[in-house]
């Protein structure tokens, strides 16, 4: 019970700290301009209109469109959380307080991720509102939220786990740069570009495989080619890897503590 209370306290504090960062809102404001521009292009595209997508497929397509950029912001803005604790020496102070490292780590992960996801969800709602205004279909709002939970959340939890863990061993700017490179290479680069890419495999956090598997939509408004089994495999793989990364991070920090 005590550890639950402590975790709730950490979660609340981390959530408030992250959500009050002007940088988070500034970054997502820039994303909003780019994504609304993409949504306009997609909804005005005659080929897209000819595809006769159902409301659910339209919501899924728009969700995938929102997700090409938002995880990049979530990942980069989460990457400095543990290194900041180290730099300000707060981690040493926290080690002297009651509550285990596991509780604090989980609280930090959930708090910072939920705060970043709040900004990402608002961005998604802006795009949905824009689509409702363009199409007049109010059903897009609940369907959009459903698609957000299925397509976006697993990838976001995956990205958040890596962004919290990797900067513990990699220099922060190098991680930011590598994460940018990975995002483009593993999620946006076409599998037909001549370079091997993770795009199109179940390890695609942008959600294209889940979108194609469950809703039969591709990442650029077309139809996808993955089956429902691929979609489930992708969902399970992304969540499973996120848990594994958090366990590895916990073990590493415990080992580091023991060495001090």
């Amino acid at each position: 019970m005590d550890s639950l209370k402590i975790m709730w306290g950490v979660l609340r504090y981390e959530f408030r700290m992250q959500i009050r960062r002007p940088a988070l809102w500034l970054a997502f404001l820039c994303f909003a301009f780019l994504i609304v521009r993409s949504a306009t292009g997609m909804l005005d595209n005659p080929y897209f209109l000819q595809a006769h997508l159902s409301a659910l497929q339209l919501a899924a397509s728009l969700t995938l469109l929102t997700n090409w950029l938002a995880p990049l912001g979530v990942g980069i803005l989460l990457a400095d959380r543990l290194s900041r604790d180290r730099r300000t020496r707060v981690d040493e102070l926290l080690n002297t307080l009651p509550g285990t490292l596991r509780t604090r780590l989980l609280g930090k992960y959930l708090g910072t991720t939920l705060a970043s996801l709040t900004a990402a969800l608002l961005l998604h709602l802006v795009v949905m509102a824009f689509a409702i205004w363009q199409t007049g279909n109010f059903l897009l709002l609940p369907l959009g939220l459903l698609c957000y939970g299925v397509i976006v959340l697993p990838g976001m939890l995956f990205v958040a786990a890596f962004s919290l863990a990797c900067p513990v061993v990699i220099w922060l700017p190098l991680y930011q740069f590598l994460f940018f490179g990975y995002w483009f290479w593993g999620n946006l680069l076409s599998p037909h570009s001549g370079l091997p890419t993770l795009n199109g495999t179940i390890f695609t956090p942008i959600g294209s495989v889940i979108g194609a598997g469950f809703f039969n939509v591709g990442s650029r408004g077309g139809t996808g080619s993955s089956s429902a089994v691929d979609g489930i495999a992708s969902l399970v793989a992304l969540l499973g890897i996120a848990i594994l990364v958090l366990v590895a991070l916990y073990q590493f920090l415990r080992w580091q503590q023991a060495r001090q």
Partner: protein, 237 residues
């Protein structure tokens, strides 16, 4: 005295700053060597590594380290102005990135993995080689200047890095919009990767240098405002 100071600044920047561009080029070249030996693909990808990856890395590193100092309050009380220190740091990063880019482009030229913009394809040497260097030089100067201005304005290393990454991903993703809209040419960073046959290649490179110069002037002005240097967004790294 000057040598001591240079040595001290280099030590302060640390190994990661100097290893980053080298690791980027070597890592990318190894990936290509393992994955694809098609000359056209390798030439295109290595050209992209010089035009996209190294300038991006330099921009993110400058945004992160060039204008941050734990002892900035102490530095501002010293006779030596802080903007001299900040300028020296970003010049080291820029010069090192330029050295790595120049050596890589020379290796690409020697090994014939050389992707040329159509506009300069029939130029004589050494003018062709020298003009080709604008491929990385313009993008690097532009992204470094942007990183400098963002880090000074936002005072958040993470947000500055994120915005540079977002801007670059947007240019990569919407490259056709940048290609087809002449209004956007002065900020179109990656024409060799996506449109080597563009007739505006050279004009674009020079326009980028011009817009980078405007950003540098803005950074020069911002670096002289102690209030701005001392401000720090709460909760930021």
């Amino acid at each position: 005295m000057t040598l001591d100071r240079i040595r001290y600044e280099l030590r302060l920047l640390g190994k990661p700053v100097f290893l980053t561009p080298v690791l980027v080029v070597i890592g990318f070249a190894l990936l290509l060597a393992i994955a694809n030996r098609n000359v056209t693909t390798v030439a295109r990808s290595m050209g992209a590594s010089l035009e996209v990856l190294l300038p991006m890395a330099a921009g993110v590193v400058v945004a992160t380290v060039a204008t941050y100092d734990r002892a900035i309050e102490l530095q501002l009380t010293m006779p030596r102005k802080y903007h001299h220190t900040a300028n020296a740091r970003f010049l080291f990063i820029l010069l090192w990135s330029a050295v790595v880019s120049l050596l890589t482009s020379f290796l690409l030229y020697v090994t014939s993995y050389w992707r040329l913009p159509v506009l300069i394809a029939h130029w004589d040497q050494p003018w062709q080689f020298l003009t080709w260097q604008l491929t990385w030089l313009s993008s690097t100067l532009w992204l470094v200047a942007l990183g400098l201005v963002l880090s000074l304005l936002i005072r958040s290393r993470s947000a500055s890095g994120a915005l540079i990454c977002v801007f670059s991903v947007a240019e990569l993703y919407f490259h056709d919009v940048f290609m087809n809209n002449s209004m956007l040419h002065p900020v179109y960073l990656f024409p060799l990767t996506f449109s080597p046959d563009a007739s505006y290649w050279l004009v674009n490179r020079i326009e980028l240098l011009g817009t980078a110069a405007v950003l540098f002037v803005l950074a020069w002005f911002l670096l002289r405002l102690p209030e701005l240097l001392l401000s720090h967004s709460p909760g930021e790294e």
